[in-house]
Symmetry: C2
Subunit: 311 residues, 2 copies
């Protein structure tokens, strides 16, 4: 089992995902600043996982909890899990922060397992599944979200989008599929629509970074295009996410802040001086989403908030 | 003006496009085999341009015209221009081959100019245009197809898909835009649908590798996804191509041979041992195409074959 975060001797060890798949190296984080930098630089990524990392980051804050909370929350804007986890641990009082961070971590693992269990029932044996980005153990505190469904289904073949510009599909998802011995083919992001037609894809499943009250879903750039193509081919399009990814304070997708990242991420192969437009996420309207696969079950619309839970 | 092919002293000089944008180096081709290899390895690419290169390749064949024709035609299967140009020069008799190759080259330049002239009328001043792959001077014998329209329009801003896996957008189109001082932003292929929405794209224009009698159009992988997204956003979707790209012998897109290229092209960032599915082209159904911009004008359906033209 891949462990992307390890709390050890009062420090947070973060598996540096920018070096995968070729090198497995842990960064040692001793301060909230170390953790915030690792989140900003995508050394740790995935909506649930950056929430967990940031919760541990607060446990490194000593007395400066408010400053650490502000710093960590500002590291990335789109995934709601980050701010929610930070606020939750910051509210429990200094002595219980680490316990609460570990609890968030364990809860996320349990939610991943539940998502896998519920979602696997939607997948016919032998299905051909298309996915994007990385939603597995490298993105969560457990076995993943969309990835958990793929992992729990029987006998599937996966087509994974390489997910430019940061290659989370090529670098991370293919690495996880290899470890789990799940048959997978990498495709160029532009090949997804043609692959749906040519390979008779049975379903598309993705993760999410923030889901508004009406079901509009922010996720990795490219997800919206997949949802449009899935609709054109009458292929079910599922979003898999723990209830911590739903943001009931936001009415619809227009209010979700979309992170624009450095142009250089896209300019890998371009001539010097070229410009780029680099939104890291897009918003898929709820009407294109067949169902949400959550830890509480499968819902055609976002499920109500869990009773008594602040997060 | 970029000159991707130069006939000089009985040899064909091919600008090696795999080295762009960083190095401008010419390959010297002395035999049809040299030219076929350059085509297979994408050192020269673009549907019209590989036709022209192959025509010059026949001029290098000496007496072995039939063998050279078979070799060159088999270099790449999807673009119809290749086989058509080879057959045309092979039919004129040994002494007139070079004259005929030069004529194809000049005709293509004239068709590009006409496409630009006709297409520019479709573009409102100040338009935001989205395109894919490379369709400019590096893809044709003149100023391009889709690119010619952009070049002839007034005051436009372009969003160019990077066009994985071979980066023709990032490496070649951005290089041409820089030379022509046309404002352009590179986007990840997955960002195209979101860009249509967020940047209020006015029109999409692409080239083509082969257009069937009913208008189904094979073009660079990713084009079909753009057409689906354009339709969802009610954005006009234009295909720009000379009449040499229309294949009236094929009823519809299902009969167009789609080249699958080496998995390694997609596996740039993937772990060792990973697999990929790498179709180089996809087929956009005619119903998603607003109009065809050809050297003979703008047509909602493929125009009839030019009178008296074999090619």
């Amino acid at each position: 089992m891949i462990r992307p975060l390890v709390w050890e001797k009062g420090r947070l060890l973060i598996l540096d995902q920018t070096l995968l798949p070729h090198r497995e190296r842990f960064l040692v984080c001793r301060t909230p600043d170390d953790v915030a930098r690792a989140i900003r630089e995508l050394r740790v990524r995935g909506a649930p996982l950056i929430g967990i990392a940031a919760a541990y980051g607060i446990a490194l804050a000593g007395d400066a909890i408010d400053r650490a909370a502000a710093l960590l929350i500002s590291a990335r804007p789109t995934a709601v899990n980050l701010a929610a986890a930070v606020r939750r641990v910051a509210a429990v009082g200094p002595r219980r922060i680490l316990v609460e961070a570990r609890r968030i971590h364990a809860e996320d693992a349990a939610m991943c397992a539940a998502i896998g269990r519920h979602g696997a029932k939607l997948v016919p044996p032998g299905a051909r599944i298309l996915t994007i980005c990385n939603t597995g153990a490298l993105a969560t505190g457990g076995i993943g979200t969309a990835y958990a469904i793929i992992k729990r289904a029987r006998n599937v073949t996966v087509y994974a989008c390489e997910t430019r510009p940061v290659w989370q599909g090529a670098r991370l998802t293919l690495y996880e599929f290899a470890k789990d011995r799940i048959p997978a083919y990498l495709i160029a992001d532009g090949a997804a629509a043609a692959t749906m037609r040519e390979k008779k894809i049975d379903l598309v499943v993705t993760g999410a970074d923030r889901i508004a009250r009406n079901g509009d879903t922010a996720n990795k750039i490219g997800t919206y295009a997949l949802a449009l193509a899935a609709r054109a081919h009458r292929i079910p399009f599922y979003v898999a996410a723990p209830r911590s990814t739903f943001d009931f304070s936001i009415a619809d997708g227009r209010r979700i802040p979309i992170e624009e990242r450095a142009e250089a991420e896209v300019l890998t192969a371009a001539p010097r001086g070229a410009r780029a437009y680099n939104p890291a996420f897009d918003v898929t309207p709820a009407r294109l989403i067949t169902a949400f696969v959550t830890d509480a079950g499968v819902f055609p619309k976002p499920p109500p908030p869990a009773a008594g839970k602040v997060r």
